[in-house]
Symmetry: C2
Subunit: 346 residues, 2 copies
């Protein structure tokens, strides 16, 4: 962590002032004292309005996400990590190797600079873990009462190898639906802090990068038809999106979907369905039926994929619909909820 070797420039304020976003000396000092030492790399050093990146020599994946999670620190992660992993994961879901990130921050007047330092340090650690560089950024300050401490946008660029195409349009009847691990941990972890609920079995967010799992599949010779990480709206939202956009039916076996006891208990207590609770380190892979077993083995061999299982199948019937085979042996539609059970989850 090279940035910790740098002597931070002293700042005259302990909290964010409007002038820290004003384009003047105080903004420059904030960048010099906090952002640049944390994110340090050669591209960022050029100090220009745009980062200049080498010719990728491949197609690109490009994505963006804004992170407004509340609370900003939760068991198993924080908003900084989430802002890196979330965007890295969206790139990975296109089959891309994540390469570069931009960071746009909206800071609320009065936000403690000490916490900002923790968030950017967390972003750097997360970026290093993913092998991505934070190469360009922007900071805005809004008046007290017009924000909530810190909101972070990241956009990401990845390289897409060869002629790989991964997306809802590739999904075919007969495809297997594979899940990389248990669901609902992120939502329950965030809620436990927000609502001040102590569960018997404490639950940590599953917040983690997923590009290693995708690399595992590709290196092992399995080309997934579609990949999607289950975040807002949980597993149910992902399956519904793919069913709708891919114009296929999806059948899922409820008993096959792993849920850890802590999540199960919390959901029972609060009347939530874990299939709708957000994850931040769990992917759904649609692979050709004959590749299913190999895909599970390849995922299980990678960190974060130890719990991979097949949970269902793509079918011809019921296009745009997800059918759940319940524990009771009945079949019901697993619909998209109107909203998220929990707001500001990521």
């Amino acid at each position: 962590m090279a940035f910790e070797l740098n002597c931070p420039v002293p700042l005259r304020h302990e909290t964010i002032q409007m002038a820290h976003g004003g384009g003047g000396r105080m903004m420059r000092d904030l960048l010099e004292a906090v952002m640049l030492p944390a994110f340090r790399n050669d591209t960022l050093e050029s100090r220009h309005d745009s980062a200049l990146l080498p010719d990728p020599g491949s197609r690109l994946a490009f994505t963006t996400d804004t992170y407004v999670v509340r609370p900003r620190f939760f068991p198993g992660g924080d908003i900084g990590e989430l802002a890196v992993y979330g965007t890295v994961n969206d790139l990975a879901m296109a089959g891309a190797t994540p390469r570069f990130l931009s960071v746009g921050m909206i800071l609320e007047e009065g936000y403690p600079i000490e916490e900002l330092r923790r968030v950017v340090a967390s972003m750097r650690r997360a970026a290093d873990r993913c092998g991505v560089a934070i190469v360009t950024g922007d900071t805005k300050v809004v008046d007290k009462g017009k924000g909530d401490g810190i909101y972070i946008n990241t956009a990401g660029i990845g390289s897409v190898p060869g002629d790989l195409v991964v997306g809802p349009g590739q999904v075919r009847p007969g495809d297997a639906v594979i899940l990389s691990g248990d669901v609902g941990r992120h939502g329950v972890a965030v809620m436990s802090v927000r609502e001040g609920i102590a569960f018997q079995t404490p639950v940590e967010s599953d917040c983690a990068p997923l590009h290693g799992l995708v690399r595992g599949l590709l290196d092992g010779g399995v080309t997934p038809h579609c990949l999607r990480d289950a975040t807002r709206g949980g597993l149910a939202a992902v399956l519904n999106e793919i069913a709708t956009d891919g114009k296929v039916g999806v059948e899922v076996v409820e008993a096959a979907v792993p849920v850890v006891p802590g999540v199960e208990g919390a959901c029972e207590m609060l009347g939530l369905d874990p299939l709708y609770v957000a994850c931040e380190g769990c992917l759904v892979a649609f692979v050709a039926g004959p590749d299913a077993d190999r895909a599970v083995i390849l995922l299980r061999a990678r960190e974060g994929g130890e719990g991979a299982v097949r949970i269902g199948t793509v079918v011809e019937d019921g296009r745009g619909t997800v059918i759940l085979r319940t524990r009771l042996g009945t079949r019901r539609i697993l619909d998209l909820l109107s909203g998220e059970q929990l707001p500001r989850i990521c």
Copy 2:
């Protein structure tokens, strides 16, 4: 404007609800009804977490900016236009041809959907004018009182031709400093609405794309050493940044800097210095001394560059410092202000 031909999906609400950011059906409806019809293009149609872009076959410029301007509609522009032009301009300042944009929105609960439609329509028009496609996006909703209607982040990707390098490190003593037009219009236009001040001469924001001006220079055989658009902190901030990062001195002739009468009058009345007031359609080009006259001619031949003038020179002495030769014939340091004279200007 293809998006106006689409039949908008009816929405059940007239204002943004928390559930519009929740990953469920209401979020999907908002995307279908508002975002996708406005931004429509083939890449966006693929409906995946990342946009898949063709191999650019060149180096890339990558940049991001978040827009929090208040008010959101001001004489000469709005937050949507600003969010497109601002990021396009940052790409152009690296000598890049702007290609693709991402859009990340933070909507406040209760924000009128009718206004959202106006903002996204404005973004689409601006993008079309610049020849860029909005290819990926994200929408988050925050509770009432935790935002301010709408905040927009855009990140942009551009292609950088050949081995062109434009940046503070290329600036040399003897370089001419060229300004593409008059300064201070954006700041004064925003302030006039915000503070409810009616000036004798109404001032409109100069909010405009600048990549055409850069293209004009390059096509005309002038390779600028450095380019920077004067936004937050105005012309003074830009000159100071380049002097510091390029480790050179800059001498500017105050009388040579164009200021329209409306801006001059407003600044006199309010005790502001127009050199520190934000522009959104004005660039500073550092070019080799012998290229100066040609650069001015090339800029003047392009829309938005009609008022181009040489305003100064890069010098060996006083590295990191900007010296202003005043109208009175004296010389003084044109320093970086502590903050911006006006918060939330872009």
